[in-house]
């Protein structure tokens, strides 16, 4: 009892100090809350992603913030546990955050009902509910990037382009992790197989994916023309290694967005040449905004993490997430004036038009019906030291995607009653 009271008093005192420690500024800070998974399932992406986010915020603040307002980013670990995510969300809300980010499918799924009820904006870059693209049913959930369904169509489109004479009669195999994330693109692939005439087979492997030999043996029996891997984290390098061992040519192997330089280096940088992946954000240090970060933030010693990670895939996705937020905040302040509230930010985000974040993203346009931003992505291949683009930024088969989005969103609306 006493411990609980001391604990509560301590927590109260600490939140008070946390609020007070935000130094007195002439303009009120804009707060973003990120409750990410640093310790459990998403460790492969979170460190670099958060580093990218924080470096971009540092860049913003170095240039005077958003219209004079400094931006404050709160970073907390949730360990992929929904209850810690909920607690973090409530705390962000009480401290006046206008946007929250979880980068964790279970946590964001648990928080979505609350966020919708409170009108709090949630950004879900490249993951989470694919049907959140429907801005009417999910007014404050902003993927702003192609989620898994659009990634699936983009991959199939590229494969279609590579096969002269179309896909009729070809075999496509999906090797995925046996979880809701892995099973998510299956309806899209099946729908496309009906339309384009290819044969489709699935080969799930059990989580966490460190042992996949049996799955790939089954696949070898199937002799597909193209193989798609759909996993994340430790399972990805294992999948690619198994593919190599079973004679699957890497230039006929495409992956979902979650494969990075780290994975390629774990497999062996030279051996991974030719591996394809979906890309939603340009990687590398060439985009102008990354160069700006290097000049203003890294060179001046304000970086949030190791310098060699600047420009990696997940780092750039983090930068993109905050760049989209900043653009939305800027537009909101322009149109509706101060102070910035979650509702105003929502309108600001929904007015983003053809935004590329200085060469980092394909042109993103968000409306109140379409929170996906256009669904554009491209396919990139590993050339031994970096990922190089093999196609242009384009969106594929969006009609199938939107059919599914609307159907799924309707189910969500009905079930909430």
């Amino acid at each position: 009892m006493r411990k609980m009271i001391t604990g509560l008093a301590l927590a109260a005192g600490l939140s008070a100090t946390a609020l007070a420690s935000a130094a007195a500024q002439d303009k009120a800070p804009i707060k973003v809350g990120t409750a990410l998974d640093f310790t459990a399932v998403y460790t492969f992406v979170t460190a670099e992603y958060s580093q990218g986010q924080r470096d971009y915020i540092a860049l913003l603040n170095a240039k005077g913030g958003i219209k004079g307002h400094p931006v404050e980013i709160m970073v907390v670990d949730t360990g992929n546990q929904p209850q810690r995510g909920i607690e973090a969300y409530e705390r962000f809300k009480s401290e006046g955050a206008v946007l929250v980010d979880f980068l964790s499918t279970p946590v964001s799924r648990a928080v979505v009902p609350r966020a919708l009820g409170d009108g709090m904006n949630v950004v879900t870059m490249f993951h989470g509910r694919s049907d959140a693209a429907d801005g009417k049913v999910f007014p404050t959930i902003f993927p702003m990037t192609p989620a898994y369904w659009s990634q699936a169509t983009a991959i199939v489109k590229y494969i279609e382009g590579q096969e002269k004479g179309g896909l009729k009669g070809k075999r496509i195999a999906l090797v995925m992790i046996d979880s809701p994330f892995g099973r998510e693109p299956v309806p899209v692939f099946e729908e496309l197989s009906k339309r384009l005439g290819y044969e489709f087979a699935t080969f799930p492997y059990p989580s966490p994916g460190n042992e996949q030999s049996a799955t790939w043996t089954q696949l070898r029996r199937d002799k597909p023309d193209w193989t798609i891997i759909w996993g994340a984290g430790g399972g990805q390098p294992v999948s690619v290694r198994e593919a190599m061992r079973n004679g699957v040519p890497l230039d006929h192997l495409a992956s979902v967005i979650w494969i990075s330089e780290t994975d390629a280096n774990i497999i062996g940088a030279d051996q991974t040449k030719g591996l394809l992946r979906f890309e939603g954000v340009a990687s590398g240090k060439d985009p102008a905004v990354i160069k700006a970060i290097q000049q203003e933030v890294v060179a001046k010693g304000k970086a949030a993490g190791p310098a060699e990670k600047v420009g990696s895939t997940y780092y750039n996705i983090g930068v993109a997430s905050m760049a989209l937020f900043a653009e939305g905040a800027r537009r909101a302040l322009d149109k509706e004036g101060e102070p910035l509230t979650p509702a105003k930010l929502k309108h600001g985000l929904e007015s983003i038009k053809d935004f590329t974040a200085d060469g980092l993203l394909p042109p993103v346009t968000i409306t109140s019906e379409d929170h996906q931003g256009g669904g554009r992505g491209r396919i990139a291949a590993w050339d031994g030291s970096k990922w190089t683009a093999k196609s242009d930024w384009s969106a594929a088969y969006q009609d199938i995607v939107w059919n599914l989005v609307h159907k799924s969103a309707e189910e969500f609306k009905a079930s909430g009653k």
Binding site: F38, T39, A40, T43, F44, T46, A47, E48, D178, T202, F203, P204, Y205, P206, S207, P208, N210, E211, S213, A214, T217, Q218, R220, R221, G233, G234, P237, V238, R241, M244, R245, N246, T262, D263, N265, I266, G268, Q271
Partner: protein, 292 residues
């Protein structure tokens, strides 16, 4: 041929599981404690090797023996600091203690080494080995052979002087005391050996899948192997390891297409349940559990 390939690769993977289970069996044999932190110890072993090899730049032929020595001391240290106080406490407390240690290690190792996956390269190539038409995974082949060798070594060890002392301790602690055997030292030794087994398993598994916290998830597979084989039988570990490895590969190979996938995870849990319900002390274990 499909069946043979699944079976052979499965047997090799099973032997690698058996190496982790060896640690559990060694500790249980000597002290009657089921070490549920063995998965975490494997993870720590892998991290230590990675740190020595990649972090400090030591060559592999130096890093591996150093890591083995370090893990031996670490296992002995764990026993000395944590387990010795729990002698005589109810078994749920001891289980909970090892689980607490597992959580502690699962937090400490990635915190110190970084949570992103690390590469551990021990020089095994990627090209598969072909036995006729059957593709055998080279890493698993090396892993299986090493595991078998280590288990054989431990069997030999149990015929040595120290090993006989350990066997006496596992049989009857009080009588061993009476005979002048230093029981605390023997138990400490068994934990040290478990540390070595964990380090070897960590090296093998780390090279297959990369080093990160998910190595600690090997626990449930190792537990299934240990239970099926008998918690105090080293021979049982080999037999059960091969059995579970084969079952895990072969059964999903045929059932997955019918059910839609993912039956592999079921195999370990079902094996544990069936073993406990039908023959609780395992295939080769000694019967000394109380029943209702």
């Amino acid at each position: 041929m499909y069946l043979a390939e699944l079976a052979i690769n499965g047997a090799l993977v099973g032997l690698m599981y058996a190496l982790v289970a060896l640690g559990i069996v060694l500790v249980f044999k000597a002290s009657g404690v089921a070490n549920l932190a063995q998965g975490a110890l494997t993870m720590v072993g892998a991290y230590v090797v990675w740190w020595l090899a990649a972090g400090l730049g030591a060559p592999l032929w130096a890093a591996m023996p150093l890591a083995l020595a370090a893990m031996f001391l670490f296992g002995r240290g764990l026993e000395r600091v944590a387990l010795r106080r729990m002698v005589g406490q109810p078994v749920i407390m001891i289980i909970m203690l090892t689980l607490g240690l597992e959580i502690l290690l699962r937090g400490a190792a990635p915190a110190l080494a970084g949570a992103t996956m690390k590469r551990l390269d021990i020089g095994i190539g990627q090209q598969p080995i072909f036995l006729g038409d059957i593709l055998v995974n080279r890493a698993y082949l090396v892993g299986g052979v090493v595991a078998l060798a280590l288990i054989g070594l431990s069997l030999l060890f149990f015929n040595s002087r120290q090993g006989i002392m350990l066997r006496a301790v596992s049989d009857d602690q009080t009588a061993s005391w009476a005979a002048g055997i230093r029981v605390e030292q023997a138990i400490g030794l068994s934990w040290g050996l478990a540390g070595i087994a964990a380090a070897c398993a960590g090296i093998l598994w780390g090279s297959v899948q990369g080093v990160d916290w998910t190595l600690s998830l090997l626990l449930i597979k190792a537990l299934a192997v240990a239970i099926l084989g008998g918690l105090d039988s080293i021979v049982g570990v080999v037999v059960a390891g091969v059995a579970i490895g084969v079952l895990e590969n072969v059964i999903p190979g045929y059932i997955d297409p019918l059910v839609g996938g993912g039956t592999r995870d079921l195999v370990a849990s079902t094996v544990i349940l069936l073993t406990i319900l039908v023959r609780p002390f395992g295939l080769f274990g000694r019967e000394d559990i109380e029943r209702v």
